[in-house]
């Protein structure tokens, strides 16, 4: 366990703003050089789906924000393995490491936050 804060996103994109606002929190931590990781869990794995186009609903395409995560200093991205399979996201994504969000996983982090 290090000092890293794990930000969990378990809501699908575009239907509400919770994931965006969680991402803003993660980016803020990174901007202040605090270690932060992201976990996409449950319906939140749909953030990682290829081929998104937010313009269709007049929102920003969230996967683009995500692409910038590493640039912003968010070092680790994780995806819920079972949820990826459930939503047909079987390919390994370049962005995220597949994990099982069990107690052992959560304990790798100093703090766990979800909105």
């Amino acid at each position: 366990m290090d000092d890293t804060l794990l930000m969990v996103i378990d809501r699908a994109p575009y239907g509400d703003w919770q994931g965006r606002e969680a991402l803003d929190m993660a980016f803020s931590l990174a901007a202040f050089d605090r270690p932060v990781a992201l976990l996409f869990r449950g319906e939140g794995v749909n953030w990682l789906r290829p081929g998104q186009d937010g313009d269709a609903v007049r929102q920003k395409t969230v996967s683009r924000n995500l692409g910038a995560a590493r640039m912003f200093g968010v070092s680790e991205l994780y995806a819920d393995k079972a949820a990826m399979a459930r939503f047909g996201l079987t390919e390994p994504t370049p962005e995220a490491v597949s994990v099982t969000p069990d107690p052992a996983f959560y304990r790798l982090f100093h703090q766990v936050v979800q909105l």
Partner: protein, 94 residues
């Protein structure tokens, strides 16, 4: 196109993600001949292994496109949604 309405049949407009309790309640509440229109986060059901949708399902094109969802149900645009609300006099938003 005629303006006949199917007076007992119902258009179910469902905007909840598949894990929401109301998603299941909607499917259970559908009668034969009813039509299901998936909007907003409900279109994720098209990619969800856990969900079995009725044959008479439509999905809003814009919401599918935003989320990168393909799927094999007929897509409707907002005008198509208007047409559906014209055709059905009974409409339930879930």
């Amino acid at each position: 196109m005629s303006h006949q309405t199917d007076s007992m049949l119902t258009l179910h407009i469902l905007n909840k993600a598949p894990g929401h309790p109301r998603f299941t309640a909607c499917l259970v509440g559908m009668a034969e001949g009813d039509l299901l229109l998936l909007t907003e986060n409900a279109v994720l059901a098209l990619a969800d292994d856990n969900v079995r949708l009725p044959a008479s399902t439509r999905a809003l094109a814009a919401d599918c496109k935003a989320r990168g969802i393909g799927g094999d149900v007929p897509l409707v645009d907002y005008r198509g949604m208007v047409q559906l609300t014209d055709r059905f006099s009974r409409i339930i938003s879930w």
